[in-house]
Symmetry: C2
Subunit: 198 residues, 2 copies
């Protein structure tokens, strides 16, 4: 039964992420997560004793960790441009494969923060902070002073998230491609070459 | 009665903008707009025969026009940096004066576009396009080729919108200040000085 139980929990989390991306935080209700995941109603509070807020918080933390993992992989290569290009490519793929219906679940929570439990704004902020930290480490590793590295990292996260939203409204990848090209050029002109290539 | 009528219409539109900013598109129901504006229920379909979708569409168009007006004022001065700084300052002021509760109503509609009438995604896209066009004109006026001017303009809009969302989650203006400083430096290094100062 242990394996089945954790399958159910996993399915509910995956459904929460999918619903957040496409429909936003308010629309990600327990009823909708149960319908989307096919999980039995009776299992919800067993897996998420903190209720819907716990589920949404874990969903945001999962997306935060997944994207940070991508950036950490790039950090291992020491190549910031590779990391940033992968960050943009991830969102582009999500947008295109969903027909521009799916955005970022962290943004979904952040824009509805006034109507949600206070820990949800903190979990969205923590995801943005993880990505900013990972990018700042990459930039600092290629010669930027720490303060500038953080500034440029926050700017990069902002540009990606804003561009994803514009893409959804336009039903086109053009805003994300514009932001990716500008950030790519800016980093090429600002960073030292990665250690591994010199 | 004419003046009263248009007052009522105006109040409903202002309430819709305020609710979109703080609570998002789905939360901006007819009931909530009536409660927020104090407008009589019977007047709603008189002023907005297209129902809630018409109200939200007009609210988005109003914000789009207001912000574009700011950028057009800067265009009249020929100084792109001034325009971009005003664009950032506008959102910063909104965030700070609302205690980081109020974001961008155009973004609110864009992120909930799957659950809304199709014309709402188009109205959000049109607002982003107006801002992008206005910034692109400013950048082209200071020496950038048209394609690069458009790319940089879309990037600027994306960075502002993404940063506003991060500020709401963090309850801090730091992400917007980071984006403003990066864009300011990038434009200073990229654009010719404005005609009026040479």
């Amino acid at each position: 039964m242990g394996a089945r139980k954790s399958d159910t929990r996993e399915r509910m989390l995956e459904s929460a992420v999918a619903l957040l991306r496409e429909h936003g935080a308010r629309a990600t209700s327990i009823d909708r997560v149960l319908a989307h995941s096919g999980a039995p109603r009776g299992s919800f509070y067993h897996h998420f004793p903190g209720g819907r807020a716990q589920l949404v918080e874990e969903a945001v933390a999962r997306v935060g960790g997944f994207v940070a993992g991508l950036l950490d992989e790039a950090a291992a290569s020491g190549d910031a441009l590779r990391g940033v290009d992968a960050f943009f490519a991830l969102w582009r793929e999500r947008l295109v494969e969903s027909g521009f219906r799916a955005g970022c679940s962290v943004v979904a929570v952040a824009v509805e923060t006034n109507d949600e439990a206070p820990q949800l704004a903190r979990s969205a902020a923590a995801a943005f902070a993880r990505w900013t930290d990972a990018l700042a480490d990459l930039f600092a590793g290629q010669g930027l002073p720490a303060a500038r590295a953080r500034r440029l990292a926050a700017f990069t996260v902002a540009a990606v998230e804003g561009a994803v939203i514009m893409c959804r409204a336009e039903r086109s990848a053009a805003p994300l491609d514009a932001a990716a090209a500008e950030i790519h050029d800016l980093l090429s002109n600002t960073l030292r070459p990665p250690r591994s290539t010199i």
